[in-house]
């Protein structure tokens, strides 16, 4: 999106009116960057020389990004376990399906556990995906203990010497400590069998400032290692991801670009910044 392009052009063309600055501020706010980051960007822009402004803004935004590794950490020789978490409806199950395909396309053996035993028909949803993609999905009883399903899943993954084990979990609001504790238990139980390598928090690109609270509280209970930013095919700019990276240091690893299994991309920080700038 052409967030900065107009302002950059005006800059090169000479002076900016206060209406221009208002518009600039409005663009930043609209991208869900939040009030604080917006003010920081504006004050930098106001002090920059026209020739340097693009470089300076790029640098400022890049400095806000997490410095952590954005790759999924695969450990050769043993099953890599990924726990997928997030609030309701952000696209967890779809993202799990996308990862099934992503890893399967790399000729890796994948096993999935359907640990959303709460939402009606959630088990069918992930099973349908598993059948479409050709990945085994370990299921339990609806309304059963999600930790038990996760445990059955990891046992099967280990028995089959799968490369990747993914746990799909029920959506939960980060403010519900009972549900957050259930998540910690899922993690604990899987780790009795094999380490969890990644905990991926699925954040919807339309999310506003609440995304920061989500990242903080999920990390408190399950130590999030990365984000999946979904629904980037819509009109939302996903600026909340930058705000989250800035606040928590948790890196975005994947982005979701649609509803089919192929709509997953590795997050490319540079093009994300460019997308915001130009």
């Amino acid at each position: 999106m052409a967030l900065f392009s107009k302002i950059l052009n005006r800059f090169r063309g000479g002076s900016l009116t206060s209406a221009d600055w208002d518009e600039f501020e409005s663009n930043l706010i609209e991208a869900d960057l939040g009030g604080r980051l917006t003010q920081e960007i504006i004050s930098l822009a106001k002090s920059a020389r026209p020739d340097d402004i693009e470089a300076e803004l790029t640098q400022l935004l890049s400095a806000k990004l997490s410095t952590a590794d954005r790759r999924i950490s695969l450990t050769p020789g043993r099953t890599t376990s990924i726990l997928v978490v997030g609030v309701n409806g952000t696209g967890k199950t779809t993202s799990v399906a996308k990862m099934m395909k992503y890893f399967k396309d790399q000729k890796l053996a994948v096993v999935v556990a359907a640990a959303d035993t709460f939402r009606a028909a959630a088990i069918d949803q992930i099973q349908t995906w598993g059948e479409r993609i050709g990945v085994p999905v370990v299921v339990g009883k609806s309304e059963g203990d999600p930790a038990a399903v996760a445990f059955d899943g990891i046992k099967r993954a280990l028995a089959e010497q799968a490369d990747i084990f993914i746990v799909d979990t029920a959506g939960r609001l980060h403010t519900k400590s009972g549900l957050m504790d259930e998540l910690a238990k899922i993690r604990r139980v899987v780790e009795k069998a094999s380490p969890i390598d990644e905990v991926l928090l699925v954040v919807d690109a339309t999310t506003g400032q609440n995304g920061i609270a989500q990242a903080k509280l999920f990390t408190e209970s399950v130590q999030v290692t990365g984000l999946i930013l979904t629904k980037m095919d819509g009109s939302a700019k996903g600026g909340i991801a930058l705000a989250i990276e800035d606040e928590t240091g948790i890196p975005v690893k994947f982005i979701g670009l649609g509803e089919s299994a192929a709509d997953l991309r590795l997050f490319d920080a540079q093009s994300y910044i460019q997308g915001l700038l130009l």
């Binding site: 501020e25 706010i29 349908t128 519900k176 400032q209 609440n210």
Partner: protein, 485 residues
């Protein structure tokens, strides 16, 4: 974040308070704070700015009057709150029922907004009011959306019209049309059509929504939106308004801590009223929309009403009545019951977070921090590591079983012993009470540290100790156990 905002407001208002008489400069200062707070709540910039302007104007108009009162800053705050409530409740109304049934309600919105759950909630709500709703499964896109709606319908005893399996198979327009016909034949007075989620930018799916609309001519076309949505709310709502159009808005996921400022933007930009609010995962967690609650929430003053209701729902639900029944029948209070109680409490959400939602929470921040949610979590972990047989008969708990439980829950054996002792004492006391002194209140509520709150009817031996949290300790129970080991 919450703290930030409340603190910002509190400090802005307290500096006003210190000033006594207000000058016009003070007003514009507070207006700036309000604008910043609204933006932090995801209100669109221009909406926030024009709101702040309105506040400035109204306050200046009434400056004389405000300054004559005993508390000028309070008077300004009242203006802010009133104004926001007025906007949020402007043109508010109840759902429109068709003169000639069936009334057709169609749901649209982004993917993941919560339409399918909402369809069930709305159906139950309308059924309770004496209607005979029919649910129609026209989301044929998301895998197993149809099955989800069927399951929900079954649980609330509302029929679901679902002739197509979904998962990409079937024509949603035909289903909607046939659903309406079915409702007419079977004399359902309300039809609720669930549709697939779609992005505002997806032209093709928007056209499909329009075709569904034209096929059933809804009396109410409702736009369902998540309270956590950010600035995109304006773009999306506008795209839906210009695309399929809508008559009213439903806000979902209000049980979280999102301030939901987007609601204000949507209202200002589309002029459509907010009709309902969805406040939890259970099918009963649904209510008509209250503008005053939303106003305090957006302003960061907490949403006490919703909080109180959540607490009430969690506490006096099925668990309590089941317990009372058991008790009356002379059955033993077991660890299974105890676990159910703990669960009910935890379902209320983190106690400290709930307390923090209260207005003026800043002042009692210390006490709130001292309240230890983890105590509850630890106790639950221990009980959950017991087998059902053990829970029902703690006498089974010999040394080796206790050691196993300690290991399973990541706790010390001494903690298991302690819990069993406290529980046995409580159980004994309940027995004594039954033999003489009537039914006790709800067991299980821990005392609130430093707030002077007694446990709610909890037999003393079972009251949980409140251990002040040390700063360094992790909030993650697993990590914390490791730290303590």
């Amino acid at each position: 974040m919450f703290d930030n905002l409340s603190a910002k407001f509190a400090s802005a208002f307290s500096s006003l308070r210190a000033k006594g008489r207000l000058k016009s400069g003070d007003i514009s200062e507070i207006a700036d704070q309000i604008k910043a707070a609204l933006i932090e709540s995801d209100v669109a910039l221009d909406v926030a700015a024009s709101f702040a302007e309105r506040i400035t104007e109204r306050s200046l108009d009434r400056l004389e009057e405000v300054n004559r009162g005993t508390n000028p800053s309070q008077a300004i705050f009242t203006i802010v709150n009133e104004e926001l409530t007025a906007i949020l409740g402007g043109n508010s109304r109840r759902i429109t029922l068709a003169k000639k049934p069936p009334t057709v309600i169609m749901l649209t919105g982004l993917q993941g907004a919560g339409k399918t759950s909402l369809a069930g909630k709305l159906a139950l709500h309308l059924k309770k009011e004496g209607n005979t709703p029919l649910l129609v499964a026209s989301d044929l896109q998301r895998p197993n959306a149809v099955t989800q709606l069927q399951t929900v319908g079954e649980s609330i005893n509302v029929p679901v019209f679902a002739p197509e399996p979904g998962n990409g198979v079937g024509d949603p327009v035909a289903v909607a049309k046939a659903g309406l016909k079915f409702a007419q034949e079977k004399f359902h007075n309300i039809v609720i059509v669930d549709t697939a989620g779609r992005l505002g930018v997806d032209q093709e799916l928007m056209r499909e929504a329009i075709r569904i609309r034209d096929a059933v001519s809804p009396d109410e076309l409702l736009f369902v939106v998540d309270a956590m949505v950010g600035q995109d709310a304006v773009r999306t709502a506008t795209a839906f308004q210009e695309g399929v159009g809508f008559d009213g808005v439903v806000l979902t996921k209000l049980d979280g801590d999102a301030r939901g400022g987007a609601a204000l933007s949507i209202l200002e930009k589309t002029g459509k009223p907010i009709l309902f609010a969805s406040t939890g995962e259970k099918v009963e967690d649904f209510d008509i929309f209250y503008p005053d609650r939303m106003a305090s929430r957006i302003l960061g003053m907490g949403d006490i009403q919703t909080l109180a209701e959540q607490a009430k729902r969690a506490m006096d639900g099925a668990t309590t009545s089941r317990l009372e029944e058991k008790f009356a029948k002379g059955e033993d209070f077991t660890l299974t019951d105890f676990l159910a109680q703990l669960q009910a409490m935890k379902n209320m959400g983190s106690m400290s977070k709930m307390l923090a939602m209260l207005p003026g929470a800043g002042a009692i921040k210390k006490q709130i921090e001292n309240f230890d949610d983890n105590e509850l979590i630890r106790t639950q972990a221990i009980v959950e590591s017991m087998t059902p047989a053990e829970r029902n008969d703690p006498k089974l708990l010999n040394g080796s079983r206790r050691a196993r439980i300690a290991k399973g829950s990541g706790r010390q054996v001494s903690e298991v012993n302690n819990l069993v002792d406290r529980f046995s004492a409580a159980q004994k006391m309940m027995k004594q009470m039954r033999s003489g002194k009537g039914i006790p209140g709800l067991p299980g509520m821990p005392a609130m540290g430093g707030m002077g709150g007694p446990g709610m009817g909890l037999p003393a031996p079972m009251q949980q100790k409140v251990t002040p949290k040390k700063k360094s300790k992790s909030g993650n129970p697993a990590k914390r156990a490791a730290e303590e080991a």
